[in-house]
Symmetry: C2
Subunit: 106 residues, 2 copies
DNA sequence: GGAGTATGCTACGTTTCACGTACTACGGGA
DNA sequence: TCCCGTAGTACGTGAAACGTAGCATACTCC
């Protein structure tokens, strides 16, 4: 997850990237802007391209032919499956936690 | 987040710990078993106690008097607030992502 | 009563990776 | 020509996730 300095993380750059690629192939810079708009988190280039490289290496995204010095990536089936699984786990965990928070501290 | 080797993270040990402490003060070993039962993730001692130390240092948990070589911790108000905020963000992110996954890949 | 097992934690080393910063390069204004 | 936006590379640093080993107590149970 994207660590906020001294703080507890809640999101992983890889997850943000996969989430952004669901709506279609994008190149690096477009992913940055997309996640900025969507969740207000700005991925630095070091974070972004390193994470993209790992995702590609693990078969979760695929590089498309470079066009005009842009390097677009698209999510693979494995990436989609992984994302779905993680999101569902996150959702379940969050919902359970929030419910407990409400019942325990009235 | 609890990284699974070669894999994308989805959860942070600190978040798992806070989540476990919501239902009451626990010592380290009990937290391990709790998160095993709840989410199927086993925190190793290195991960667990290091994360606990950081959480205490940042005021998100508080150490209770040691009893019978057990070192219980309880969540603080700040910890609860942080957890609630993170869980809500996680939930929102997960729901948005899942919705998009459904609409995009029919 | 010794062996085995569960509990509970410490100590330490390795490796991954998030993040920042600096840099290159190209194109379009003003 | 200089500045700004776009697009990506290169690299260093520090945090922290994770594994493993070790140690002590305490409990079966044969």
């Amino acid at each position: 997850m994207a660590r906020r300095k001294d703080d507890v993380a809640w999101s992983d750059p890889a997850l943000l990237i996969l989430g952004s690629l669901v709506s279609g192939p994008k190149h690096g810079y477009a992913i940055v802007q997309d996640t900025e708009d969507a969740v207000g988190i700005t991925l630095g280039p070091g974070t972004l391209y390193a994470a993209l490289a790992r995702l590609e290496q693990r078969g979760h995204v695929r590089a498309l032919p470079e066009e005009d010095r842009r390097r677009p990536y698209e999510i693979t089936a494995a990436g989609s499956a992984l994302l779905a699984q993680r999101l569902e786990a996150m959702r379940a965990f969050a919902v359970r936690g929030l419910t407990q928070l409400r019942t325990v501290q009235p």
